[in-house]
Symmetry: C2
Subunit: 241 residues, 2 copies
Amino acid sequence: MSTISVDCVIFGFDQNQLKVLLAERWIKDQEGNLLDKDYTLTGYHIYQDEDLDSAAHRIVEDITGLEGLHFEQFYSFGDLNRLQKEKDQRWLKQFGDVFSERVISVAYYSLLPSTKIQILDKDRNIEWFPVYEIENLAYDHHKILDKAIKHLRYRLSHEPIAFDLLPKKFTISQMYKLYESIYNTKYDKRNFRRKVSQMKFVVPLDEYQSAVANKPAQLYMFSRDVYEATKKDHHGFFFNY
Amino acid sequence: MSTISVDCVIFGFDQNQLKVLLAERWIKDQEGNLLDKDYTLTGYHIYQDEDLDSAAHRIVEDITGLEGLHFEQFYSFGDLNRLQKEKDQRWLKQFGDVFSERVISVAYYSLLPSTKIQILDKDRNIEWFPVYEIENLAYDHHKILDKAIKHLRYRLSHEPIAFDLLPKKFTISQMYKLYESIYNTKYDKRNFRRKVSQMKFVVPLDEYQSAVANKPAQLYMFSRDVYEATKKDHHGFFFNY
């Protein structure tokens, strides 16, 4: 017998950094003194009367109020030792026998083009954290996060999902920052611009940024029509760094 | 509380058709009379002392004796109604209360370049079936099989995994048959040959088939060295039909 949890890796791009939504966890001793503090992905065990996908949607709706988000299930985690660190055991004991069974976690990820969302869950501290600065995660959640990033990059180099994280009309700089933030590296700007200019499905508009301090940059949009029509040339492939 | 099972989709290519390993299931009434017969994927519930990956390996080793097979976990299935068909319920009742809980299945797939393997499990009829001729599957196993095929095709169009299903030295006809059998369609032979000739990593050898009735065809091999070195040109992409 096992308990099933669903963990949601909710990525958000604040037009500067790739972030992920984490919940604070306070480890206390029996007298209620704070021993340690760390973070978990947003997850919960499934209810007996809901499907796995429904659980993912419920978890995120309860936290953010966001409905109908696009989720992708990417992996399930069931290593025997995944909850065996001492502080994990201490935390789980608070809930009595519920988690004395083995816990298998089915993991989903989702992409948000913004981090400006309202957190409805007032019982926990839930916040955005830059993905590559996270150190103190509970359980095997670092493994889950790493796998989610790997999956995201794989998809990114084969499908046009980058545009899910950008505004409808975007500048090349925004796109450049998105790629740098996902691959956690620096690219040559001119080379990046040249590569993008070869993508027929990234269409330059006669519009420019408004309300910016510097010289307003030209805006572009992603055309799914062009993407689909030219699939034979770019082989369904998008951007491979 | 739930029960976790691991289902293995074992694909094999017999150099003519894509096949999958299935186990026969006999549905009997209380007097032992045969009511119905159908098939399941090879799967089993996990033991409490093994990881998910280990379970996949154990299941296949018990059936085939094959060790160290490469497995890929591709999806987990947990719909509420996945075991609710009448004959599934009738079958599960034989095992008493074990499966009265909800069952979540973590699914793996594996690729074999041959279907000539020994079946060690003598308690069940386990056999190879052509993937696109299968109709009578138990539970939600048709959904699992469909997802596995979708996943296999996705990988196939982005990575050189086709060669895992071919002999080390192969003819273009064998490659052609493999693609036809996975995509379940017919291709133009000349066009296929032309496309393959553009792949620098499919290297023609000065060797020919032996012991064939017709004119022996030239042999080719896949070079991973060339594949890696030319990744920039083919974008990690392989063959997109």
